[in-house]
Symmetry: C2
Subunit: 414 residues, 2 copies
């Protein structure tokens, strides 16, 4: 097994109502397994379109991974097309039927006719029992090529991939190792980072690929190595990583797919530091990100979203006079918020944000995008001023990222 293609079925993906997270998950798992995903294709819920894509793609790659269109309602037609494609009849599978009945009764959902039909499978396929939902997965093997069909509900597909599909692919034999090493940076522009790293050819020496992936959270660097063994791939990746670190260490907050909140969580846990958050313009996003990490109660004491001026005064004891004189969006108020939340929470670190998320509320002096980020700890209080003229949600994302990075660098003394 060497190459694969992913086929996603669903009008909702084509017309952009739903983003294709399933193809992303499958791509990631396959790549980790050493299989190269050469293409991803999306087609709508119509018989001819699905049949056409099956005909075009089956046989071209070692594995074809299909998701979507297996639900209980009338618009789910994938199973019918698959059966016709392989010239197979749909037959009732008793184990699947029992699973459907079980699952529904546990959740107190009555068994409907449409649910019964979910237990029909094409004759001759290998049934992948779905213990996380009602639609089973199906696997066909023809001339050493795999054809796998899974439901489109993300966690059901994910479990089927992990429990059945990946082990089956491994068992069929994978001939190469592909390793991706990711270094996540923040606080530096893509072209500046590119120049900072110097000659890419020198860096890679023809033994790997390097990609730059910018987003509102920073630039990710991805090193990709293909090798004959895990050890060889790791050695090459390690060598390139240390060359990159030698030039850009300060900006790198994690290696691997670890988000900044998780990197910070590890750091705070390791240093036994506690934190509290006072947010205005980020509206709870920092607290939300910090509490996305399991175990966050050991370092996250509390957060306050002091949206109104009154709440800044009442909860954080920011002097009313300061707000009326300098405005809520000011360096001094950011400092007072960070100090206030640290004091009332009795934590090692207090952070704060105050700014203008927009799209309204800007003035010539204080434009949309202006934000002050405060940090208070035993060493004193610092405030960082930034202008992030962006759409509201992205503004919140950038500001929360900058706040978390401010803490990371402060704790590490960078």
């Amino acid at each position: 097994m060497k190459t694969a293609a992913v086929i996603t079925i669903g009008d909702e993906i084509l017309i952009g109502q739903v983003t294709n997270t399933n193809a992303a998950f499958i791509g990631q798992k396959m790549s980790e397994t050493g299989i190269e995903v050469a293409r991803t294709v999306v087609v709508g819920d119509n018989y001819d379109g699905i049949m056409k894509v099956f005909r075009e793609y089956f046989g071209q790659y070692d594995a074809l991974l299909v998701t979507g269109g297996l639900g209980p309602t009338h618009d789910d037609i994938t199973k019918k097309v698959v059966a016709d494609f392989f010239g197979a009849k749909l037959v009732m599978d008793d184990r699947v039927l029992e699973n459907v009945r079980d699952r529904l009764s546990k959740r107190n959902i009555p068994m409907k006719k449409v649910n019964e039909a979910q237990a029909l499978v094409p004759e001759g396929c290998e049934v992948l029992m779905n213990h996380w939902g009602t639609a089973p997965g199906m696997l066909f093997e023809k001339e050493k090529k795999f054809f796998v069909v899974m439901p489109g509900v993300p966690h059901e597909m994910q479990n089927l991939m992990t429990e059945y599909v990946i082990p089956r692919i491994r068992a069929a034999g994978v001939s190469q190792v592909i390793k991706h090493r990711v270094l996540k940076t923040t606080g530096i522009a893509e072209s500046s980072l590119f120049e900072l790293l110097g000659s890419v050819d020198d860096l890679l020496d023809g033994r790997a690929k390097l990609a730059f992936l910018p987003s509102q959270f920073g630039v990710r660097l991805r090193i990709t190595v293909k090798a004959g063994s895990e050890a060889e791939a790791d050695e090459i990746a390690n060598e390139i990583e240390s060359k990159i670190r030698a030039r850009a260490e300060k900006f790198i907050y994690s290696s691997g797919e670890v988000d900044l909140e998780e990197a910070l969580a590890n750091l705070l846990t390791e240093k036994r530091l506690t934190i509290s958050v006072a947010e205005s313009c980020t509206g709870g996003m920092i607290a939300n990100r910090l509490t996305n990490i399991s175990g966050s109660s050991s370092y996250f004491e509390r957060g306050v979203v002091t949206y109104s001026n009154k709440s800044k005064t009442e909860v954080l004891r920011v002097p009313e006079e300061l707000i009326s004189r300098l405005g809520a969006v000011s360096e001094e108020v950011a400092a007072a918020m960070a100090e206030g939340v640290r004091k009332i929470s009795n934590t090692d670190i207090g952070i704060s944000t105050t700014g203008i998320a927009g799209p309204t509320g800007g003035t010539p002096d204080k434009p949309v995008g202006l934000v002050y980020i405060g940090l208070s700890d035993a060493g004193g209080t610092i405030v960082k001023k930034m202008v992030l003229p962006d759409q509201r949600l992205r503004f919140k994302e950038r500001a929360s990222q900058a706040a978390l990075e401010l803490v990371r660098r402060r704790v590490l003394g960078l």
Copy 2:
């Protein structure tokens, strides 16, 4: 113009490091314009793979929309392939060069050689000036078929689509109207909703398509109508919508792509109600969602993320005795939190969450996934108990959705 395909270029999409939000955006815009997106294809950053997909797809559809691989670094090769595909030389475009120079100087980023190369374009293409970034878009028209290339940075692509591409497609003539009408429901399972709506054939009468799209936020219903005119399409969609509403009104929180936080924002603004939030297990997600809406300061007074027991007592005045006797995850504490935050904020409504997000911290009595949602208003206090045994992030999403829906139904008396 009738049909289109979307081609996304980038290893990061194939291997699942980045989800394909660009294809989603383009699909949505095209569909709104009356163009049917028949396929979406993703290929990696390699010359042969990109050339192959151009050859396969160009000419098959009226428009081919390509994104990605136009950045300043070595791994961006799309422009070279495009030039070769059309047999064109790359030439320097002075207007683009000036734009690149301008943009960088405004952000105090030094102009590098790699930035200069961004001003090279294939001879004979129509340059789509990128006022939101440094890589220009390119449009080719051959035998009435469009070939459009745009950068992969989402907001740059979005602006190019809206400002140049869609108007050019409209000008070329669009022969049909496609209307999607979305009704968003929450608090009902997909199969139960399907049964509640009765016969889909009766509902649609052959004049539209209906899709069921489940997620952790609820089930979306999508009505799709193709018609000769806007008026005709609207009339059909209206008729089907009212039939659906007659059967499932209570569960529908919005029509159109409005999220629950926005629907609730509109409702609170209309009724002139203010709200405050006390979160434990949702960790700031409810505050974050409410403040994603522009203008939220008019109804959102404050939020507190009382993660520690101490903060529940200090900030919300939840009696210590209650917590030690019944535990922080209990009906009584949820009620006290909602009442407490309402009182300290002096708002019309106070809501609260307390539960076990997991994956650790569960007990036989109080399993992972248990959550109590409290609501306090002038009419009294109610608490809703739910068990949402799910992965941590999805638990937070489901719990925050249930909390917002509890407010919506309370305000509307449903």
